[in-house]
Assembly symmetry: C2
Homo-oligomer: 283 residues x 2
Amino acid sequence: MTQQQHQPRPGDGPYTVRTPRVVAARRLQRRRDRDAAGLFLAEGPQAVREAAASAAVHEIFGTTPALARHAELIESAARAGARVSPVTDEALAALAETVRPQGLVAVCAQRSVPLEKALERGPRLVAVLAEIRDPGNAGTVLRTADAAGAGAVVFAGDAVDPYNGKCVRASAGSLFHVDVAREPDPTGAIGTIRGRGLAVYAATGYGETDLDELADTGGLDGPTAWLFGSEAHGLPEELLAAADARVRVPIYGGAESLNLAAAAAVCLYASARAHRAGRNTSE
Amino acid sequence: MTQQQHQPRPGDGPYTVRTPRVVAARRLQRRRDRDAAGLFLAEGPQAVREAAASAAVHEIFGTTPALARHAELIESAARAGARVSPVTDEALAALAETVRPQGLVAVCAQRSVPLEKALERGPRLVAVLAEIRDPGNAGTVLRTADAAGAGAVVFAGDAVDPYNGKCVRASAGSLFHVDVAREPDPTGAIGTIRGRGLAVYAATGYGETDLDELADTGGLDGPTAWLFGSEAHGLPEELLAAADARVRVPIYGGAESLNLAAAAAVCLYASARAHRAGRNTSE
């Protein structure tokens, strides 16, 4: 057998870095190829489990020990239609972007929904990530929004691709739990959201409205969308102007500001608490 | 002049990577040398400004353009006793741990205080970082604790060195605002804190007490210390047992948990809000 003919097929032993299916999957590390294919990569057993639960998995690449270690997960994904492909350690390392991928990488279907459709489901809490380019920050806020009960997270304007590997990892599975919408025009998105009756608040350290006062005066009781901007540049002027209020998390000590993940957590959980209190009152 | 004699002195032009003062300062990138000298490095104009404001600066290394750009800051630090040392670009890059250090690195005095002393000042809010080894996480929680009005942050057990460069940077100056205490024995620290009349709550996703219920029943109205564990391993059993309650941030969506920075932000701000409401009521 010559070098050129060596293209393993199923049953031939694990796929290598040169197997066409592996080569094609690796291309999904690039946004252009993700966009074209409507697919993305999720690493590690936790992400693969969440992906399988939402029926998003097309194919699972795994080292032989990892496939054995997670046999139950692999079987349930396979029953749901996922292809299972054993790969060499080297191929797995090439598919993964982390140092310790724990032996599994899945090719998943992107699951973005149009904003209008996400809003039709009547979410009480929405997070809008406007121009947030840092994938770790975006993924972390997505995770926090999910935890706080948000039904939709909007990646607006020139925000990072939600299917960027680092964003997927930082979301810790939450990408598979909430409606993710991508809106190139953030001002348009705000209009659409407000048209559905949600209050729109811009989170900013320079806001004229104090978060606690907003909560105390009932401003968080109804359906709410929070706008978050990038850590480095904050929210653009036109989005600050388009919001119903510009809201600051109060700073009690000497810190100049909170980082994005912390500020988003405080704002989103202030909404969650107000919604919960409202439910308790009406019971 | 031979190569060996080439040791620039003040007035000789900028220091190089081989100037003994630069060589000595670079060693502070290592914990052992920081511990021995009681010094640490702070990078960038924001950190240098905060350090200068708390009179912690021994020496500022800066490129000639950076020293000119921040002339006012440099002058005020010099008036407060800091030595100002021009360095070459190469020397600055060697002193800095970031890609874009903005031209300034300061040698600062470590400012840890004994826990007892920090507690004597009567802080209403304390954060205890137990066995948190990730410097970015520790610095972020330190910053959030400062913003929420904490008077002291305790690095307990085998936690990261608060003067680790990445921790200093993530704290965004907050290292200079709050009392930082280092306690090798976390259980002992909890005893000391409780002895001062603070309620001690362990933040854990598996807590039996819901954060909102704790707030609603007045559990956060008095002086409070929050225990936070590492993202990977959580809090050790003995610290969970030593706390007055194990408190969970409620999860409303599909997320399994919050990351450390988000969970700490929600807990610390729940305390800040309870303290503020208490102050408003008693007015």
